[in-house]
């Protein structure tokens, strides 16, 4: 090992995508995508419908294998052939699904406790304390732990799903449409909640969203997916500087552009 790599060892980027291609049958979704997300960044992924944002997200978390190319999280391949390494890596990120994806047969408490119990390291007393702490973090009360997912409102489902995604103290949080289906007031609350937690816990965030308010509130960087590749990536100002019809259209409504510009600059 060289002296240089010993002294100035850099932490690998949270996400490193190289030459990623996706193809379903004859339909090409992604062509040769490169993307880096450094630890601590909050990246917003935007693109028209059907541009493959959610597909890219699923490839990042390893739910879907790309046709070509590689995805590395923290310098480690997501689809590593070694199942132990794969399982360890999966414990380092949390995903918030669009509909919450709470286990409908388990109560809120058991939903959040589920990943902790799967570790098989903690006793029930400690799990209970951790779950109550996470519930507190997402501003829910201990009595909400007894409710079943079917009894929750849309905003509460998102909060519980966030608490579950955070239960293993992830270094990376992947959000699929975090504020879809919430009214503007709740959506703003939820954005502030994620922002506050990010500040306290320092995780990296990657999200897909259509909502300019959410983008402005959360994203420190933007990546624009169009024409099967990433046409622009950088801070909001850098992205606006790129001349591309989708970018012009997406940020054409004055309010959206103003919100994002204001939030990100």
């Amino acid at each position: 090992m060289s002296a240089r790599s010993d002294s100035g060892r850099q932490t690998p980027p949270a996400i490193e995508i190289r030459g990623l291609c996706t193809q379903f049958g004859d339909v090409v979704i992604h062509r040769d995508i490169d993307l880096d997300v450094e630890a601590g960044q909050m990246l917003g992924l935007v693109g028209g419908s059907g541009s493959g944002k959610t597909t890219l997200l699923r490839e990042i978390v390893g739910l879907l294998a790309p046709s070509k190319g590689s995805v590395k999280l923290f310098g480690q391949a997501v689809l590593d052939p070694d199942p132990d390494l794969r399982r360890q890596l999966r414990r380092r990120f949390g995903m918030l699904f669009q509909q919450g994806a709470l286990f409908s047969a388990l109560s809120v408490f058991d939903n959040i406790a589920f990943p902790l119990r799967e570790l098989r390291l903690l006793d029930e007393g400690m799990i209970a304390d951790l779950v109550l702490l996470k519930l507190g973090m997402v501003e829910l009360e201990a009595r909400h732990g007894r409710l079943m997912p079917a009894e929750l409102s849309g905003g509460m489902v998102k909060r519980v799903a966030l608490a579950r995604a955070l239960s293993l103290e992830p270094e990376l949080l992947v959000l699929d449409e975090p504020t879809a289906g919430l009214d503007p007031d709740r959506s703003e609350n939820f954005v502030n909640l994620i922002k506050m937690l990010q500040k306290a816990l320092g995780f990296t965030v990657v999200m897909v969203t259509h909502d300019p308010e959410t983008l402005a509130g959360l994203a420190t960087r933007l990546a624009v997916l169009a024409d099967q590749r990433i046409v622009a990536c950088g801070t909001a100002a850098e992205v606006f500087a790129v001349e591309h019809p989708f970018i012009r259209n997406f940020f054409s409504s004055g309010r959206a552009a103003a919100t994002v510009r204001q939030g990100a600059c």
Binding site: R91, S104, A105, L122, A128, L132, G136, A142, R146
Partner: protein, 370 residues
């Protein structure tokens, strides 16, 4: 990555516990319970803690310390600001809320009462469903244009036509088994030719309808419960209601009518396959010719038996479809409820079919027997 370490530092005014390394869920050395015990031991004798050398701590580490301290701050604590705020957040956890315990007395009476009430509830709902269906039929008599022909034929195809291969196979195999076993017994009495009477009566009157009922309850009944159940979970039934489409007319009635028609046909089909199986086995086992078998069958099995078999088929079909739809409509929006309702639906339909079969046997004891 540095492992969490605990050191005891001797000082003039007593010992100080110094923690360093990474105190996170991922890096804590297992078993964590052992670590907690060790910390607790240390905490009981020492009140001086230095957490400043800790590199990283997450809420799992903070909770571990907090529990080791007996849920209170130690007398003297040196800690960085970020970690202090984390510990303060742990301190703010409200005391564990215990779920209300049901009173232990009279548990079995409560269970019995609950079961009885649930059974009455199911019966009442089933009765309401039947009443609604009769109203629907009356409505269709007045407005024949509203008859859901497409749903009816789709159900007829799915639960009738597609069930033909499996019912034939099962019927044929049961016929062979029955014929083979009876032949052994009859041969000891020299009563070989009575195999025709035995097979004819038992298959046409009893086995055909019951076998088909069990198969259809497992095949189509479960599918109906699951389909209606998922439609409830995904709010499709509510969507139908907002469009002014009656769920009983569009979902329940076509299923009930389709099974009422398909079941008797399946019974005939299954009984025929059973008799063919029995005939083949009789030929192989006792060298009884096909011609003799076919010739004797109508003479020893009165035609009333066929009508009884057909009647049973129709009644079982209606019951299976009604029970399947009833449980489907009672599915709550979670996966557990869907699976338990589907199980209950199949078990109930099979039990009810066999119960009704017994009632049939008592009521028709004087009919169709030579």
């Amino acid at each position: 990555m540095t492992v969490a370490t605990i050191e005891t530092v001797r000082q003039a005014d007593g010992a100080q516990i110094r923690l360093s390394g990474e105190w996170t869920l991922v890096t804590l050395p297992p078993p964590i319970a052992g670590l907690e015990l060790r910390l607790r031991d240390l905490a009981s004798g020492n009140t001086c803690w230095d957490l400043q050398p800790i590199e990283r701590m997450d809420s799992a580490g903070a909770i571990l310390l907090w529990r080791a301290w007996g849920r209170q701050w130690p007398a003297s604590l040196a800690v960085s600001g970020a970690h202090r705020s984390l510990l303060e957040r742990v301190e703010a956890i409200s005391a564990d809320v215990e779920p209300e315990q049901p009173s232990a007395s009279w548990t079995w009476i409560r269970l019995l009462g609950g079961g009885a009430l649930a059974a009455i509830g199911h019966l009442a709902a089933l009765l309401a469903l039947i009443g609604q269906m009769l109203l629907d039929v009356a409505h269709l008599c007045v407005h024949p244009g509203d008859i859901p022909w497409r749903e009816f034929s789709a159900n007829l195809y799915k639960s009738g036509a597609q069930a033909l291969p499996v019912t034939a196979l099962i019927g044929f195999l049961i016929g062979i088994v029955l014929s083979y076993l009876s032949a052994l017994q009859l041969a000891t009495f020299g009563a070989d030719v009575f195999i025709v009477n035995l097979l004819g009566i038992s298959i046409v009157r009893e086995l055909g309808p019951v076998l088909v009922a069990v198969l259809v309850a497992g095949r189509s009944g479960s599918a109906m419960t699951a389909q209606i159940g998922v439609m409830r979970v995904t709010e499709e039934i509510d969507a139908l209601a907002t469009m002014g489409v009656s769920r009983s007319l569009r979902l329940v009635l076509p299923k009930v009518l389709a099974l009422a028609l398909a079941m008797p046909l399946l019974v005939i089909w299954c009984s025929a396959a059973g008799i063919v199986g029995g005939m083949v086995a009789a030929k192989l086992q006792m060298d009884l010719s096909f011609g003799f078998f076919i010739d004797t069958l109508p003479k020893v099995v009165p035609v009333a038996n066929v009508w009884i078999g057909l009647g049973k088929g129709a009644v079982f079909g209606v019951l299976i479809a009604l029970i399947a739809c009833h449980f489907g409509l009672r599915v709550k929006p979670n996966t557990e409820s869907l699976s338990s309702r589907t199980t209950t639906s199949v078990v109930t339909s099979i039990t009810v079919a066999i119960l009704v079969d017994a009632v049939f046997a008592v009521l028709t004891r004087g009919v169709g027997l030579p």
